[in-house]
Symmetry: C2
Subunit: 404 residues, 2 copies
């Protein structure tokens, strides 16, 4: 039998989808599961967008332009002015999800063996994309104890080698909820300009900033040759299945490479683009309502978590995730147990073990990522499951060890 490639062998499994089979079994057994494991919002997509698809009278679903529909690119460029970023239509590519935008950005920057520095914990699929490009991720730890502040610039400097091609930030952070300040961004931009690196910023959660203003890295004109921003309609418009994202850059060489990458896969999905365009047209007051709802969910979750003993938390400033440190040795085993062995009032809760978001295997073992993508009542019930689950789990452990 022929051998797989290294990238085929070494590709990481998704920590977010890892426990899926246990969830299936729990459902088959009749348990209700609160899905706080994946960033799948339950808020209805803009109804005008769903309606527009039904009104479409065309009888052939045709290829569209490689870069995406010009009208969608234009409305998106215009939308970014709200963040004091002045993009031209030609600076914007519509991609098949932020996923493709990240892949194209990494591929345009990195040769096989090149390095990308990322503060950890980080969105686990960054590792998958880097592996796919035969590039290497160099992590710098950030810590739950201080709400996952940006690591000191000196730590980034220490990691820069001849192979370093880019720094990647997620702002606001998935899974951390951290929102970087103007000072944070300026410090990183100074560094990438000094060392002639690219800066890739994942701004998918930019509309979810609860306590301070979001600053887009596209605002900083002086660094425009260095900056690539990736984005998505999945989270803000509850359009995860539409598979529409964006890659924006003012760097003409990157634009040229991305155009050629985009040509090979022909075009982004037709219906997704239609949904995205109409959603942007009807974004007010939709976006503000959505943000208000998520703020409520965050506050509900935070209040509920504070009731749990021996848990480590902080107040996330943005996105819709929080990392919580649990009083267990191994959060993955606990998360699996919640699905396979536990229920409370015939319900249980599903989380993503946070270890999968750390590159360093020794970090985050007792942590989980909680996505607050359900309504406050569901969050309260889910946290009741977590509280009861921890009691039963730790009691079982005690009795097991006493029995041994």
């Amino acid at each position: 039998m022929p051998n797989l490639s290294n990238r085929g062998n070494d590709a990481p499994s998704s920590p977010i989808r890892k426990l899926a089979s246990f969830a299936e079994q729990a459902k088959t057994a009749g348990k209700q599961i609160f899905h706080l494991n994946i960033g799948q919002p339950d808020i209805p997509s803009p109804k005008e967008a769903l309606e527009a698809i039904k009104q479409d009278e065309s009888d052939v679903v045709e290829y569209g332009p490689t870069q995406g529909k010009p009208s969608l690119r234009r409305i998106y460029a215009n939308y970014y002015r709200k963040f004091e970023a002045y993009l031209e239509t030609e600076d914007v590519f519509v991609t098949t999800g932020a996923s493709e935008a990240i892949l194209f950005a990494m591929a345009a920057c990195c040769n096989p063996g090149d390095e990308i520095i990322i503060p950890e914990p980080f969105y686990a699929n960054y590792t998958g994309f880097a592996n796919f490009c035969s590039a290497k991720i160099v992590p710098i730890p950030s810590y739950l104890e201080d709400g996952f502040n940006l690591p000191e610039i000196g730590h980034f400097k220490n990691k820069i080698t001849d192979q370093t091609k880019a720094i990647l930030l997620c702002n606001p952070g998935n899974p951390t909820g951290k929102v970087y300040s103007r000072e944070d961004l300026i410090a990183i931009l100074d560094l990438v300009m000094e060392h002639d690196l690219f800066l890739i910023v994942d701004e998918v959660y930019k509309e979810f900033c609860y306590d301070k203003k979001f600053i887009s890295v596209l605002e900083f004109e002086q660094a425009k040759e260095h900056v690539i921003v990736v984005d998505s309609v999945s989270k803000i418009y509850s359009l995860c299945g539409a598979r529409i994202g964006f890659l924006s850059t003012r760097n003409k060489a990157i634009q040229s490479a991305v155009l050629k990458f985009a040509q090979m896969r022909l075009c982004p999905p037709h219906h997704g683009q239609q949904l995205a365009e109409v959603s942007f047209q009807y974004r007010y007051p939709y976006i503000d309502e959505v943000k208000g709802e998520y703020r409520l969910r965050r506050d509900t979750l935070y209040a509920e978590l504070q009731k749990i003993e021996n848990i480590s938390i902080y107040l996330p400033e943005g996105a819709f995730y929080i990392i919580a440190g649990l009083p267990v040795d191994d959060a993955e085993t606990f998360c699996q147990w919640l699905l396979s062995d536990f229920s409370y009032k015939n319900k249980t809760v599903m989380f993503s073990p946070a270890a999968g978001f750390y590159h360093d295997e020794s970090l985050g073992k007792n942590q989980i990522r909680i996505a607050f993508v359900l309504n406050p009542a569901a969050i309260r019930e889910a946290m009741e499951c977590l509280r009861e689950g921890l009691k039963v789990y730790n009691k079982a452990l005690v009795s097991t060890s006493q029995g041994a």
Copy 2:
């Protein structure tokens, strides 16, 4: 300014989309263009599929399963029985177009620097995908004069090195229209088994075989560890914009790698999957009607081409393309001229210069790829434009050289 990656610099431009700006200018100037340059069918998509989307009452466009919707995978596996291929649901991945299937297949087989042997001319984007994976394409020429028969097996053997990981075939061929015989496939399968290689076969055009039966490489159980088939709904159901394709393999290691690649991009597009599933449900008599229509178009085109002096053609057995050798030095210059300088009754025609489908830059200079994706009346008008265009172009050349 930081440097692009080599793959960013070296990515090929699409020869199919290369002349797009000249076409835009021609349209702005008020000319009607017959688009025989791109495989964008004009036949209506199955109306039941378009209707199903309008009946969808869900109010959130959610992520779907990474491997694609189980019901779609099942109906697709079942559909392939028609070609005597017995796939299980788990052998089938829904991908974002055949594009993604090809990319995943190459990435699962090849490390940077590894080689894939492909008979040329071939679908130009294979070069793009190989470049994206930092893999290398090794072409073997096939020839218009014999209707692009499979090159002799000895020629493949001569190209096999320690870096060779796969052979790639397109059957039926884009851009050649060649349909490989059972003997062709067995000879190639013997070779890949002997040398422990993968065989990737692009079967996107399998429903378009006009003169002989299509043989799927998935029929051959003995080679199941070696074979990866890529496919798409774009051409057969006129669903190019849906971005739905398939990757099928019985090789468990490849399945495991593809699953991990698929996880990183989360899921294929929701509406495209819906369109595809309903299209497969209503595939009879739709597919036979479509095939009948394309046969008529092929015969019309072939008859019209035969009326043109000094042209080299053959009767394509499958797909919906023909490569024609024109009495011009450089077909790309001619194709551009047709758009920018020529019209006949205020109409003109657009082709893809065929040189872009050859890896060897010396081949195919005077050839074009004609996609017979328009109705017979349009094809006749388009061929009138070609005939008149050739007359004017060659006359202009004569008078220019006489004047010089």
